[in-house]
Amino acid sequence: MKNIVIGRFVPGKGFLYRMDPRTKIIALVFLMASAFIIRDFTTMFVAVGLLVALLFVGRINIIRVFSGLRPLMYLLAFTFIFQLLFNTQGDLVASWELHYSPLNILAVTMLVVTWFFVRRRLPFKFFFFIATFVGVIALFATLRLGPAFATGTLNIHQNAIETGFFIVMRLLVIVTLSTILTLTTKPTDLNLGLESVMSPLKVFRIRTEEMAMIISISLRYIPTLLDEANKIMLAQASRGVDFSEGKFKDKIMQIVSLLVPMFIISFKRSDELANAMEARSFVPGQPRTRLHQLTWGFADTVALVVSLLVLTAVITSRVVM
């Protein structure tokens, strides 16, 4: 259950850890914007190269970054495949004739069934999933077993590859950047940084301090509530609720048997917490002094200037080209 919190702070060294959270947040926004503006391959490759360099210079744990990217893989693969199959703009790059014959279908079925049975035991599940998918199309395109009862064509267009590539790269860059932020910044600092960065919004009567307080309390209670959920699941299990198996209807019942007590407990908790906070003289909207202070260093100015330069360079390259 504890792995739910993806991209959590992991203590470490490196200059990114020492940087002011405000710098990191603003730089993140600049760099994300850059990723969206880039429209040509060379710039994108340079950008990705710089990102990888940042990972190394900042001594980021690469494995953690990858595990942060993993949940995204299926989405990326589907986006790319979807583009390949259905985007029909631009020049034709490649074209295959798909041969649907009973024997071909049998071969494809065998491939899928094989994948289905061995997938549980495979490492790199995602890789094999994609390989199977590509294999299915390849089998239809290359095998010519027996007479076909129907044929189809698979056309791949220039724009499909380009659009697919840029969507995938942008998402990868964005998620990697935000993973760097959350890996190197303590949740409390991140929260302070967000509060500080958003403070100009006070002009629009948005209560940034209270939002920060809400986030900070949520952060504090996530582990407690997870513990609570575990306890309830154990308690329900000892009454015979089985959380691992069951049909759809049973699953719903299991979720209800978890959610209802969770809701009741959370309400009771928040009620008591509100009392405790008020008793300790907390008044929403009143000025408070702060224990934590953010300190802006020379490195922060440099980082901000660099990320701003990246953004400017990207915009310029787009205008020029």
């Binding site: 504090r220 405790a276 906070m277 702060r290």
Partner: protein, 268 residues
Amino acid sequence: MRIIDIENLSFHYRAGTPVLEDITLHVDKGEWITILGHNGSGKSTLSKLLVGLLRAKKGTIKVGGLELSENTVYDIRKKIGIVFQNPDNQFVGVTVRDDIAFGLENLQIPRDTMIERIEQYARKVDMADYLNKEPHNLSGGQKQRVAIAGILAMETDIIIFDEATSMLDPKGRNTILSMMKQLNDEGVTVINITHDMKESLYGDRIVVLKNGKIIKDDKTDAVLKDQEILEKSNLEMLLPLRVLRLLESENVKDEKVRSYLWQLSLTG
């Protein structure tokens, strides 16, 4: 000098089921009073009423001469600190340090003073080594100590401990009790809500609640020896005092034995 005046206070959560009825209670500055009472007798409710977390249906509350009302509630909260029963639901900060800081931030204590006080009071409750720890890495008793430090650091005139030691091991409990004693000697008014008879020996006075009414309000030794009252509120008399009573009823009047037994109940 009076610090708390409660006059004819009544309260109910749901109409028809009174939780507190016609409570009148006066506390002097620097006093240590113990509130005893069975589960559900209204002890926690009373402490919430005192700081305006709940609003009385009838009667008045005065703290330090200020009558509790919408206008004075924030000033009164600055005078009273409450350590609540459940340590998990009063841990506001993400770390121990942040949690002790929370109340100080609210009181707008300057940052330097804040840092000093956090160190000082964390040491007082023996949690100085845990300042960077997160609550889910602490035991119930440790969380309770943090809660106590958070209240002590605010340096209020009055501190209410609502079964604050119930989660602590005997040694931890003794540390907290001697700390409470020290605070009380320094002039802090202590209101200790407890089920523990030994704990009540520290106080000057005992107030016994039963079904929302005060059934006894007297000097500590008088209440502790009152079999009838204790039975009424599901409490058991301390063993040495039981022996003492027995000796009295048998007309044994040896002063030495009596003072020895009294001493024993205090230390034992």
